[in-house]
């Protein structure tokens, strides 16, 4: 079953030099294991292909039901060097939430995950 990340998580992003950080937070505690399992480093790197030039780092914060990603080479040089509208990475949060997840139907039903409408 297809699930939109924006329907099961919220997020905030910011900058540190040419790196954007994106914190992704499960909307319900019981949905944290889904995002923790689905949002692997490789999956996020694939999602941002063509958007960032560097590598991705991934950290878990189960206490906050959150994951933190560092997206390197995301901000066109970063800070005042950047020519981007989003030089401070403020909207990488919702860019991350564009991700669409494929979740096992039985698991999705148990957890009450909202199905993506076509």
């Amino acid at each position: 079953m297809r699930v939109r990340l924006v329907d099961i998580a919220h997020a905030r992003s910011g900058d540190k030099g040419d790196t954007a950080n994106v914190g992704v937070i499960a909307l319900r505690p019981e949905w944290y294991p889904v995002i923790a399992a689905q949002l692997t480093r490789e999956r996020v790197k694939r999602h941002f292909q063509g958007v960032i030039t560097g590598d991705v780092e991934r950290y878990e914060l189960p206490n906050l039901r959150a994951l933190n990603f560092l997206l390197h080479g995301a901000l066109d040089g970063g800070g005042t060097l950047s020519l981007k509208t989003d030089a401070q990475g403020k909207v990488f949060s919702t860019a991350m939430l564009r991700m669409i997840l494929e979740v096992d139907t039985a698991e999705a039903a148990t957890l009450g995950l909202p199905e993506m409408r076509a």
């Binding site: 905030r12 914190g23 937070i25 958007v51 950290y59 914060l61 040089g77 509208t85």
Partner: protein, 455 residues
Amino acid sequence: MTADRIVRVASGQGFWGDWLDAPRRQVEGGPVDYLMLDYLAEVTMSILQKQKERDPAMGYARDFIGAMESVLPAVAERGVRVIANAGGVNPEACAKAVLEVARAKGAAGKVRVGVVTGDDLLPRLDELLAAGHPLTHMDTGEPLSTVRDRVLSANAYIGSTPIVEALRRGANVVVTGRSTDTALTMAPLRHEFGWDANDWDRLAAGIIAGHIIECGAQCSGGNCLYDWRTIPDLANVGYPIVEARADGTFTVTKHPGTGGRINVPSVTEQCVYEMGDPRTYITPDVVADFTTINLADDGPNRVRVFGIKGRPATDKLKVSIAYRAGCKAVGTLVYAWPDALEKARLADRVLRERLAAMGLTFEHTLTEFVGVSAAHGPLAETSCEAPEVQLRIGVRSPDRRAVERFTREIAPLVLNGPPSVTGFAGGRPKVEEIVAYWPALVDKRVVETRVEVLS
């Protein structure tokens, strides 16, 4: 001191440019013991350095003087203490301006300003390099010598200790230069509760309290994605207040009757803001572990924070160095339906052809189509036709003349480029000098802070 004694630290400013009315609202809306004002972003110091070069009495955040005027009755009559990193590259001048306001308002003698200095490493830069501190760029590994001749400012991020010292010596306003944002909140807690300089868990709690409120309303409903439609009365958003206890636990709240919302999701969003490795949040005072934060709703607009752990601080301080890095300019035009994006794309090609024909080259050129892909790039869906698109082209170069020439090539497109174009009422784009940021580390023992209390 009783175990349930509470110290209230209010956040009144999340950056230089934040809501001017917030500091006054924080001291008038209910009980607070300390007002914390954060003015410094990464490149603010260099802007202030340039102002100081033009006028030796400048070089600090002028907004702070207006804020002080608005909270002066609370400071002089009700014992509220103010802590701000508004001193920039000239904390002494900032302190004098505060005392001047106090005199003018008849509060002379009731204001004692603690001044923290010693963060400014600019006069010592060559001495430090010669003594074997390479100040290499933390991300790229390049030595500072590659940009040494273009350096404008260099400041060590300093911790809570000198602020605690100023409070101990009776200051009711403390002005610092480049102290960390989080130290502004942690210092009064250390002072009030007498936390030891190696009480790592409590220090970490103070730092995380600071992290949660240092961006002002960003933890109390501002820029909050969670359930944003239902966040009430943002026009009167309440800035956050930490109610801290001696054991290192605290509650994040705001004044009654204010707008916005404080709940576990709003505080969680701020916890992850600008985060690196969550286990290792390094400050001059302590290494805080964000994976130990526990949050719990504790009634409306109250979130309890507990369980925080910390580890010993490192023997380094971060240094914020600013250097000249050429010039940039950004030009924009708006294209309207039909085929807005196609027209904007053609205008971009035409402009680039003309720049190339003139032999103008830039270190970097970036084109964005605002309304289509400026925010999310290729991740954005482009299936529906945009009713309008803003073409936004930026260039960067060490050669100011090349950037200036670029700024004259935007307007002609209105008459000699693709059709349905508007939005050039603002005139030629401005050429901006770039002051770039160079983060480095330095041994803690080479930085000596000083505290003076003026009245």
